[in-house]
C-alpha cells in the first residue's frame, strides 16, 4: 500500500543553514552572496566606465554623479565584498584542487577531517580579509582621494 510521503527537502533555506553548522558552511553562503553582489556591481561598472570613450565632458558628468556619498559608501561595500570573495576564493581554489584537504587516512576516533586540514588556511584568509577591510575603510573614509 503506497502511502503519501512528505517531501522533506529543505529548499533554498537549506543553503542558509540552521545555526548549528560549522564556519565553512557560512563561508559558503557568504561566498555565493558576495559573488552575486559583485556580478551586479560589475554589470553597472562596465557601463559607467565605458563613458570614458565619449571624452572629458561626458566623463566629468558621470564622475559628478558618482561623487555622491552614497556611491562612496557603495564603493567601500564593493571593496569589502571583493576582499572577502577573493580571499575565500583563494582558499577554495586550494581546497577544490585537492591541495588543502590532506590525504585519505584510516579514520580513528576522534575523527579528524579535511576541515581540520584547511582550517589554518581559512584562519589566514579571514585575518587577511579583516586587514583589507580595515585598510580599505581607512583609505576610503580617512585617506585623501
Amino acid at each position: 500500500m503506497a502511502n503519501k510521503q512528505f517531501d522533506n527537502h529543505l529548499g533554498i533555506v537549506g543553503w542558509l543553514g540552521g545555526g548549528r553548522w560549522g564556519v565553512e558552511r557560512y563561508l559558503y553562503i557568504l561566498h555565493r552572496l558576495t559573488g552575486l553582489g559583485l556580478l551586479l556591481f560589475f554589470l553597472m561598472h562596465i557601463f559607467a566606465s565605458s563613458v570614458r570613450m565619449y571624452g572629458p565632458e561626458s566623463w566629468g558628468v558621470a564622475m559628478a554623479i558618482l561623487k555622491n556619498p552614497v556611491f562612496k559608501l557603495g564603493e567601500f561595500c564593493v571593496f569589502v565584498i571583493f576582499a572577502f570573495h577573493a580571499l575565500n576564493g583563494i582558499r577554495l581554489i586550494f581546497i577544490e584542487l585537492g591541495l588543502a584537504v590532506g590525504r585519505a587516512e584510516e579514520p580513528i576516533y576522534p575523527y579528524k577531517s579535511s576541515l581540520n586540514n584547511q582550517r589554518p588556511l581559512m584562519v589566514v584568509a579571514m585575518v587577511l580579509v579583516a586587514i583589507l577591510i580595515i585598510a580599505g575603510g581607512y583609505n576610503t573614509f580617512f585617506g585623501s582621494h
Binding site: 553548522w21 558552511r25 585519505a104 579514520p107
Partner: protein, 277 residues
C-alpha cells in the same frame, strides 16, 4: 564499593510526527523523559515507545553504529540515534526530526531508497577491462598498502544518509548525487584494482555532478564514521581536472602470479543465486 548516585535529568523531547494517512504536514509532539548518563537517543525513543506512546516510528537495527539505519536530526544536526548520548547533546530539551532532503515515510523514518538508487547507478564495484579474469578469476591482484590507503577511508561509509541531510546542495538540487554516492564513486575510481574510471568520471563530471559541491564541509562534520566525503569529492575534482589536461596517471593493478612451489586449493563450487529460488 558504593554505587554512585546517578543524576537523573528530566528532559523534554520534541518529536516530529507525520502520519501519511491523517496528516497533511509534519507536526511536533512533546514528551518528557527521565535520562540517565549513557542513555542514547535510541534508548530514549524505545523508552518513550514502551512507556508513553507506542505509535511513534523510528528506524533502527544494529544499535551500535555500523548499519546506518537510525540517522535522524538530533537538535538540528544529522546524527545516528544509537551513537548519540542524550546528555552529550542537551540537559533540557531534545528535538528529534527525520533526516531532511529525503521524503518522510512516517514520523522519524526517512525514505533512503533514492540514495540507494543513485548508488546503484554509479556501478560501485570493481570493473576491469579483462572481463575473462573478472568472470573466472585465476590469480590475486597486487595492491600495496599505500594504494590501499588512498581509498580505505572511504570504504567505511555505512550509507546512513547523514551527509546527504547536511549538504546544502542536496537541499535544492534533486539531480545532485550527494556526498555519499560521490565519495563511493571516488573510492572505486582511485582503487588501483579498478579500470572503469573513465565511465564513472563521465557520470560524476556531468552537469549537477561533482562540481555542484562547493565545500560547505558539513558532510564531513556530521559523518558518524569519519569517512570525510568532502575530502573525497575535492580529490575527485582534482582527478577530473588532471584528466581534462591529460595528466592523470592510473595504473591498473597487475595480477599476482603464484610462486612456482605454491599450489592452489581445489575450487569450491559456488551455486549461482540461491535467493529467490
Amino acid at each position: 564499593m558504593e554505587k554512585e548516585t546517578e543524576k537523573v535529568n528530566n528532559i523534554t523531547v520534541y518529536i516530529r510526527r507525520f502520519d501519511p494517512e491523517k496528516d497533511a504536514a509534519p507536526r511536533q509532539q512533546q514528551y518528557t523523559l527521565q535520562v540517565e548518563k549513557g542513555m542514547t537517543v535510541l534508548d530514549g525513543l524505545h523508552m518513550i515507545k514502551q512507556t508513553q506512546d507506542p505509535t511513534i516510528n523510528f528506524r533502527f537495527s544494529c544499535r551500535m553504529g555500523v548499519c546506518g539505519s537510525c540517522g535522524m536530526m538530533i537538535n538540528g544536526v544529522p546524527a545516528l540515534s544509537c551513537n548519540t548520548q542524550i546528555l552529550d547533546v542537551t540537559t533540557t530539551a531534545l528535538t528529534l526530526a527525520p533526516l531532511p532532503n529525503f521524503n518522510i515515510i512516517r514520523d522519524l523514518v526517512a525514505d533512503l531508497v533514492p540514495m540507494f538508487g543513485v548508488l546503484k547507478g554509479l556501478q560501485l564495484y570493481i570493473r576491469r577491462s579483462d572481463v575473462e579474469e573478472m568472470e573466472k578469476p585465476t590469480h590475486e591482484f597486487y595492491q600495496t598498502p599505500h594504494q590501499l590507503e588512498e581509498f580505505l577511508q572511504f570504504t567505511y561509509c555505512i550509507k546512513c544518509g547523514c551527509c546527504m541531510a547536511a549538504c546544502p546542495t542536496m537541499a535544492t538540487d534533486r539531480q545532485y548525487p550527494g556526498p555519499a554516492p560521490l565519495t563511493q564513486a571516488y573510492r572505486y575510481n582511485v582503487d588501483s584494482r579498478d579500470d572503469a574510471g573513465d565511465a564513472r568520471r563521465d557520470l560524476v563530471a556531468a552537469s549537477h555532478g561533482t562540481f555542484s559541491c562547493h565545500y560547505a564541509g558539513e558532510c564531513s562534520n556530521v559523518c558518524p564514521k569519519g569517512v570525510d566525503p568532502a575530502r573525497a569529492i575535492q580529490l575527485m575534482k582534482k582527478d577530473l581536472v588532471l584528466n581534462y589536461f591529460g595528466l592523470a596517471k592510473h595504473k591498473c593493478a597487475h595480477l599476482h602470479k603464484k610462486p612456482d612451489k605454491a599450489s592452489y586449493k581445489p575450487k569450491i563450487d559456488v551455486p549461482a543465486h540461491t535467493v529467490g529460488k
